[in-house]
Symmetry: C2
């Protein structure tokens, strides 16, 4: 493995966990070759005549799927911090003395911290997916055997589709399933609303196990997972802890600074003309985003306008827009709170949506490119408008990418951020880790002013002279540094502990081991 400089000027490995890695070539510059991944052809001969695929336990299902050293096991993150299944897989594997598994979750949560034990004892070689908190620390400290690979939600789908990762066994928890394996996200004690992040897994994995605490009569409708792709069904007492699956408490920020940022953002949307009758919008579930949603809702109501659709992760604030007539549809890959879960179940205009359609860059176009307004966050933004969402300026890997990179392809990408957090500037000279190239980020909105990317003269023109506090990104950085001082550079050594993939599978940056 050697380090090479990619098109963004970042040094990245040319090899990841023994496989070839392609350095980032620039936005829209890497043209994939070859064909999609092709799973083995199954036959009905191998499945029970009555199509009852229920087996006695997850252990039995894993054994019958041929669990062995080095396999890649995938899971989805719809149970979020209430997930009771993922850790159990590695529990079983560890007891059986299995080594060097690769875990490919669509995201991980604090409840998954116990897998550190299995990373330490060799059951798991590495995680390819988001790592927050203690798991991120574990990686940052160089303690994970293999190299972590971080992908966006769309990048995960791209990698699975393209065969960049090959899933041996997908273990998919389902709030409702029938004995054939048809499954959905609504219903039962552990409802997640939708199961959008499980689609790539069940379509492309060699073997698929459904784990449910709510076995229903055939047919389980609407089927988000189709039973004809499923090998085994396992029934357990509980797949999740309901109050941790949906917090029920997605809260609007109470910080005066964040509220100011939200107000400025709403004002920017109005004055720039980006908000119009029929626009499309995606925000998120952070406190500032929720406040923006509320301000936007109010504006729409006053003007008698309606958003054509909003793309989820859905929240009660989106549901309110839908129900009160200010949003035509919610297209949804993930429901963040209880109101959203209920809405998916009851409102025909709240529709489970495919991640392939929304986010996959190796696709014949995707939904994100059609979104007018995209509100995102970041841990750091630099003066080239480049964004970081995975590390802090101390170099610690503490967040996943989520759909962030995918969302950068929207028509107008707006990042409302505070100028600093815990007295550490957010606007910096050069982002610690490059996750998204500046050419895709259009507007930075802080409590001290709005910086528009000079590449978007059209946006600058649209708000010029309309009373908004326009500044340059350089000015924002200087204000931040004046107040907090220049942030210290992360102290890292040469070892690459994580690779950051771009939406096309190339390597946009690498995270190094933090010196302790």
């Amino acid at each position: 493995m050697k380090m090479v400089e990619n098109a963004a000027g970042r040094m990245v490995p040319d090899e990841i966990n023994g496989g070839e890695a392609i350095p980032f070539k620039g936005v829209g510059k890497h043209r994939p070759g070859g064909r999609k991944y092709a799973p083995p052809i199954p036959t009905c001969i191998d499945y029970p005549d009555d199509n009852n695929k229920v087996v006695s336990s997850l252990t039995e299902a894993l054994e019958r799927c041929g669990l062995q050293d080095g396999m890649t096991i995938s899971t989805h993150h719809h149970l979020r911090d209430g997930d009771l299944i993922s850790n159990k897989i590695f529990d079983i594997a560890s007891k059986k003395g299995i080594k060097d598994l690769v875990w490919l979750p669509s995201a991980s949560f604090p409840c998954n911290d116990p897998v550190i034990e299995y990373l330490e004892n060799g059951t798991i070689n590495r995680i390819e997916g988001s790592m927050n908190g203690p798991l991120g620390m574990f990686v940052s400290e160089g303690r994970m055997k293999g190299m972590a690979v971080l992908r966006s939600h769309g990048g995960r789908v791209q990698a699975i589709q393209d065969g960049e990762v090959k899933i041996d066994i997908a273990v998919l928890a389902a709030p409702a399933a029938d004995a054939f394996g048809n499954a959905k996200g609504t219903g039962g004690p552990s409802a997640t609303g939708v199961l959008g992040y499980a689609k790539a897994d069940y379509l492309y994995a060699d073997r698929v196990i459904i784990v449910t605490d709510n076995l229903v009569d055939l047919p389980c409708f609407p089927m988000e997972i189709e039973g004809n792709y499923v090998d085994f069904v396992v029934v357990v007492d509980k797949i999740g802890i309901p109050e941790k699956i949906v917090s029920g408490t997605t809260q609007i920020t109470k910080s005066p600074d964040r509220l100011l940022i939200a107000e400025l953002t709403a004002s920017f949307l109005e004055k720039s003309g980006l908000l119009y009758n029929g626009a499309t919008m995606q925000a998120g579930a952070g406190g500032t985003s929720l406040a923006i949603a509320v301000f936007v809702h109010e504006m729409l109501r006053k003007k008698g306008w309606k958003l054509s659709f909003g793309f989820g992760g859905s929240t009660k604030y989106m549901v309110k827009m839908l129900e009160e007539g200010q949003m035509g549809y919610i297209l949804d890959a993930q429901a963040f709170d209880l109101d959203a879960v209920k809405s998916v179940e009851q409102n025909p205009n709240h529709i489970p949506y495919s991640v392939f359609n929304a986010y996959n860059y190796h696709s014949k176009g995707n939904l994100t490119a059609m979104m007018d307004i995209m509100i995102l966050g970041a841990t750091e933004i630099d003066t080239g408008f480049n964004g970081n969402v995975v590390t802090h300026s101390d170099g610690l890997l503490l967040h996943g990418i989520g759909g962030w990179q995918n969302c950068l392809h929207a028509r107008n990408v707006i990042i409302p951020v505070p100028l600093f957090r815990d007295r550490i500037p957010v606007i910096v000279d050069r982002v610690t880790t490059l996750c998204g190239p500046g050419e895709l980020i259009d507007v930075i909105i802080t409590e001290r002013g709005i910086a528009i990317n000079p590449r978007r003269q059209d946006l600058i023109d649209s708000v010029m002279g309309k009373g908004l506090p326009l500044v340059t990104i350089g000015e924002l950085k200087e204000i931040a540094e004046k107040m907090c001082g220049k942030p210290e550079k992360a102290v890292v050594d040469d070892r690459v502990v994580a690779a950051i993939k771009w939406v096309d599978g190339t390597v946009i940056d690498a995270v190094r081991k933090v010196k302790t």
Copy 2:
């Protein structure tokens, strides 16, 4: 190419149109190897930034898809006899001097007879799909250049999935579509209800063209075809002739003999216990099947029972059961009449259903195996309970297989047929063309008695002594022959004009050129 004897004792070619062909090995005996077909990896780079894929004409779309000699072009049959698009493709190709195309429709109809011109002038080499009436005659007379390949609906999906046929361009007519290519079967002047038979095509084709007469705003919901698989969208005045898409006149038989058969069938279902509260059933849209549906509905109502679900092709008689509470769901791949089309659009329990899930044998189980009661037709049944649905006893190829072979995998397969048609016996010594092995066919119900397959002693026991006119299949044959005489053997020569595939891709029989 040489002829070999397959496991059913039929002589079949070991090569079809230059490719290797595997002779039928017996039910559940052929184990597929290898992997599913893998289409090329696309990239968003190649699609318009605004995702507007509308081009000026079908000609432009075909050109931009690189239409050339020898390509395979697929279409679906949801517009049935009102299809205005399929012929146009070959019209365009013919004008451009393109030669040797393969047409892979999910079914063909009388309105497609004009393609005979393009078969004659070399634009089309062959049709792989059903051929009725004049098209079937054309094939039977040995006038088609390539060998026809007939597959069941599930077999078509299997062949596409397994790469046995590779679709270069899928041209998919859509009653509603948006500019991104999301499409559905409901809405607009040419509503078909569902688009179930287009799924394999859009998932596996290298290039996909949507043709619509009803361009709607994004997002076109519920999307049966996902725009992220679509290359181009073409808007035309009319994709179909509404009154020929859905006849609106699916009529119950008025023939006293057929009504007697229907009554006997309903009585058999009741006395055998096959009909119970919660059973699952599939019938069809023929006059006798509709009469059976009406009788069954009446029984369910009297007993206060409800079918768990019915699998479509849906008709107004199924819709009535659904609406009046005698059927839990209609799962549907095709809507046969106007009531069915409306029902799909309005009733959340009338659900578009994947052919992969319902019928694909190279799948991890499928729905058909879970159906309790399966009512099918046949052109001939022999004393070994083997069935023919494609030729008549004169050897002429006049029908497609439809879902017939797939449906044979249901728990109880019942074939109500008249003993003879136009004074030609239906029950014969040996079927002219073998489409389904006798071991999968359980009960033959005629106006002169009910023959139960001796392999199903359980069914014989269930109705013994209950007043039903039980006979042996041999007796049925003798009655038929006594009344009509022994049918003359088809006069054919050695040339194979069509191969009949079994659900696993093997060749179960061959159709020979009829001597004229």
